[in-house]
Amino acid sequence: MSSIIDLILGFLSEHIDALILLAKIGLIVNGLLMAAAYLVYFERKISAWAHNRIGPNRVGPLGLFQSFADVFKLYLKEDIIPTLADKKFHFIAPIISIGVAMAVYAVIPFGDSFMVGNKEIFLSVAPGINIGLLFVLSMSSVGVYGITLAGWSSNNKYSLLGGLRSAAQMISYELSMGLSLIGVLMLAGSLDLTTIVHAQSGGKWNIFLQPLAFIIFLVASFAETNRTPFDLPEAEPELVGGYHTEYSGMKFGLFFLAEYANMVTASAMMVLLFLGGWEMPGLYEALGLPAGSPLIAAVQFGVFVAKLVPILFFFIWVRWSLPRFRYDQLMNLGWKVMLPLALANIVITGIVMTILKHYGIM
């Protein structure tokens, strides 16, 4: 009996790195699903508050288990595939959407590393990767296939229009999104998200140094996540349900979850790139904890979440306050306003940085 335990313990200690990695992946995937489920709940509660209604209040105390009831219902519903749909792509599309939405979390750090014994544990799946930021951008650009394929494979004109709109919209706003980040990269001098966060230590948050870039990134994030006022791919009054008109059951649920997961991603990127991530001037010194202790990592994660929540609230708040853009307005804003502004931001940042470096201030 003891030999079996020894064998298991030996196996565990031998593969400790792989096991820690698997545990982190499991935590992030489940945490993200929970976050998405509760975002749906808060979306409904906040919309009710905006409409002067009560909102979900039947399932569990304050309706807190409403999302679980919804997901359970979606699982039990019949999965209808239209006869003339392209079955292969109709099946793959929601998988691409949710898969890409989750893949982004491989590079997003939630705090500094901490030590357990003499083992350094990072608060991200792939720490110190020097293309972290580009990975997030490329995954969000690949995410458009989920929506586009869903629209095309359904063989329904409303779905197709939704899919086409999303492809055009995402390409237009991806550009200004990517360009707005170049100013941040110039200041941090790295594509590694942890380095970018550390470059903002001591209250030098990029939202103060790069306010224009922040506004451009914020607006582009709304467009990239297909949220109101940019929710043209699923505009209900015009396109029935847009790209997911022909989806039912949990496949529809996956698109829904992917939308909220993307919202969390966009908010997390804003926190990391513009709001200093887990940096909070004076807080960690005041706590007096030794560097690298698990407690400080927990506090850092708390700071991260505390910054994340107001942005998520802002996303929902905007949805229930603003009407939808017209399609030509959306394209004009993307190409004629946001793109020139993002380019100007790069030039201005470059000039100011050169001048400051010349006088030795930076």
Binding site: D86, I131, S138, Y145, G163, A167
Partner: protein, 171 residues
Amino acid sequence: MSTTVILFTILSIGAIASGISLVTRRNPVSAAMSLIVHFFMLAGLYLTLQAQFVAIIQILVYAGAIMVLVIFVIMLLNLGKEENLTEKFSMRTTLALALGGLFVVQFLTAFLGKKTGMNALPEKSMSIGTTEGIGNVLFTQYLFPFEAISLLLLAAIVGSILLAKRKHEAS
């Protein structure tokens, strides 16, 4: 077998399979999706060569932007299945086959005859595909070609805007 070899085997088989699928699919969307899979496999191959920047740009630019446009056009034109044309053995196919055969022969002579004996990556190539490596080379050694290409791209942008505008006025 090292991890690199295993990854190389998987990725190269995937790349070849998706490449074959690209040219054999009759449905244009299937073909385009095969090409996207192919780009991902190539990006994986670049990663095994420590060229992280090249790999991610491959996905960001080709899979994420160019192929979205291709898919967009396919869907906009609502292309159906390619008609099964009864292709004759024309001049074009003959030439294509001859050149393709020549390429295969060239490839085989280049790789089969010699023993490279290189299992590990040379020290210099470790940094060549990273962001810093490419940036340094691009803005020092290859500054002139880089600027020349950017001028060429600018001309292309101006040209495309001009073409789009003329069509707009005519309609």
